[in-house]
Symmetry: C2
């Protein structure tokens, strides 16, 4: 069998983390686009917005008033998907128990990154991002210690196109009883790899990518940012530790925290510079569950899932074939990484 | 353990077809929405559009001219993701073969439903929809007979919000060598169920839902349309056979074809009537692969994945937690089915 030309032939790539495939059709980038065009994100935002329910001293929708906070601010989500008060119960109905349900307890929180309404991680100082990492680590530990919390999902939705209804820089945490399916699959595949090869999959992968230098677009001593070989979204990225098997955000050294903050800033800047826009994405941390069990091979990593494809207003649609069969992309991971390397590491709004 | 109150408590429901869970937070429907609002689809379309590359006698982007077709029209996609000419090749790179790729051959087609630019399945006559089913069946057989085609995915993307760049009524077919991950998982779960219970999962499920009559919103002698217990999208639906284990669209009797066409029309009408809009969705058929192998328990079914949540312009965003952890929804499947039952079975544009 021949070597596949992954820069021009249609091919499928294997995602060893999820154990599934993604289809790449590089020749298809020539397709014209007459479809939906998104609104441009608003570029100039005020430092304080009187109508924003996340700005300091403002009232939220249920009447609580935010403190006059100086850096980060954490509160319980006013419209939590998961509640601490849910009672345990289950349902098993229909032929051979085809209809199964189980109630679930949990806690949902909101973490404001800054009192400044107009900032984003890309525009914040590295030491300010470090404070965000510290709060995430505290929350991960504090929530994880509760006996009914076994998984802590930290994530950020950025811009309206990603379902974010407030541009004030913030993230969410959904902490819960179960290990949801996606992290469960990743943990299982990491465990199998570890048991088979006696080494952590993502650490090996990070070191290989660093040396190969074809898909890495930002890095420092402790971490790399890479468009993974198996990326689904056009400019999808993964932040991975490079030196040691970091399992969770609670175990970062101070040096690692600084380097992670600095790399997250650079990823944000390169993203924004790509189309000179406030780049939308969902971002989130996958790390060790808090159920006290062993997770051999589990490496903390950060996923970035950004929807834009061609410009600030043309996104990739994951519809039709993608919803029914498997993910599909046009530009290659290598092409995307090259573009992310080629943009300036200085934020476009800061060029004088 | 208690019985879970699935109309008000946060709970997870099991999807036995995909083998994964979906989170339901019914109390969360009270959440206000200040986020992104979509454009309304254009309501009045001409019967013929000179700039449409799917209308009869018009030229397509690469210069070919469409025939003056009378009902359906099939052609090879001008920007096919899969090509017949791709040569076989593979890649196995990096530590323990972490980077794996395999080239893939295939054929992508476009099927116009009607020469009329302004129609949709919901507005077409039942006998016209039957002709679409006939063409799909012919394509399924013709493509499936090719030795390198093992899976035939028929699907329709409707409206700009679903990545559809042309409102002319049409569907696509992506036919290929591999069985993609999503149908592969569904086939595997149907097989296991069949081997364990000696009966087809989806046939048992359809009969249970028909009798229970809580999530079924349209039906006839041969088929039901149901918001599945494990629905992810707000008004997600599944069309299932009711009487016999139909494995694929190629084996429909004439009577079944008429009943399927009539049910598809009703689903389309109820969808459009929900928000009095041309309801966007991705729809597709899962059926028996064409690799000649045995698929015990495999039942043909049609998935509808519509994004709208609250109105013609407010959709559900599958972002953040959903991309990183698991799907989540607010309204229950039962509530969605009740709403779909309550709307008129006559298209809102046809009320005098
Ligand atoms: O083939 P089209 O209509 O140009 O494109 C649309 O459907 C494809 C298959 O579902 C998707 O891959 C594209 O993202 C979408 O925009
Ligand atoms: O919680 P928010 O910001 O109101 O809502 C947003 O994020 C949630 C978690 O990712 C999603 O379930 C919602 O669909 C999305 O609009």
């Amino acid at each position: 069998e021949e070597y596949v030309d992954i820069q021009s032939d249609t091919h499928n790539r294997y995602n060893p983390l999820l154990g599934e495939w993604v289809k790449i059709s590089p020749h298809r980038t020539k397709r014209p686009w007459n479809g939906q065009v998104e609104k441009q994100p608003v570029e100039v935002r005020p430092t304080y917005d009187a109508s924003c329910y996340l700005c300091p001293k403002n009232a939220r929708s249920k009447g609580q008033v935010n403190p006059d906070y100086a850096d980060t601010f954490v509160f319980q989500n006013d419209f939590s998907s998961l509640l601490e008060t849910t009672e345990s119960g289950s349902l098993d109905e229909g032929p051979n128990g085809l209809l199964r349900a189980k109630s679930e307890k949990g806690i949902c929180k909101v973490i404001c990154f800054s009192p400044r309404h107009d900032l984003t991680l890309a525009k914040m100082a590295i030491n300010e991002i470090e404070k965000v990492l510290t709060v995430w680590a505290e929350q991960y530990k504090e929530l994880g210690e509760k006996p009914f919390i076994n998984h802590v999902q930290i994530f950020e939705n950025r811009e309206a196109i990603m379902g974010c209804s407030n541009p004030h820089p913030h993230s969410q945490i959904w902490a819960e009883e179960i290990i949801p399916d996606i992290p469960a699959r990743e943990l299982e595949n990491q465990r199998t790899y570890f048991e088979t090869h006696n080494t952590a999959m993502l650490l090996e992968y990070a070191q290989y990518e660093k040396q190969k230098n074809e898909r890495v677009f930002a890095s420092n001593d402790d971490f790399i940012a890479v468009v993974p070989f198996w990326a689904v979204w056009p400019y999808e990225a993964l932040i991975l530790p490079l030196q040691r098997g970091i399992t969770d955000i609670g175990t970062l050294t101070n040096g690692e925290k600084t380097n992670l903050a600095s790399l997250m800033k650079e990823v944000g800047i390169r993203y924004d510079n790509l189309f000179e826009t406030s780049f939308p994405y969902s971002m989130g941390i996958h790390q060790k569950p808090t159920d006290g069990k062993d997770y051999p091979g589990c490496i903390m990593h950060i996923h970035y899932f950004p929807p834009l494809l061609r410009s600030a207003t043309v996104k990739k649609f994951m519809v039709g074939y993608e919803m029914l069969a498997m993910p599909q992309r046009d530009i290659t991971a290598e092409g995307a990484a090259k573009t992310l390397c080629s943009v300036s590491p200085i934020h476009y709004t800061e060029k004088e």
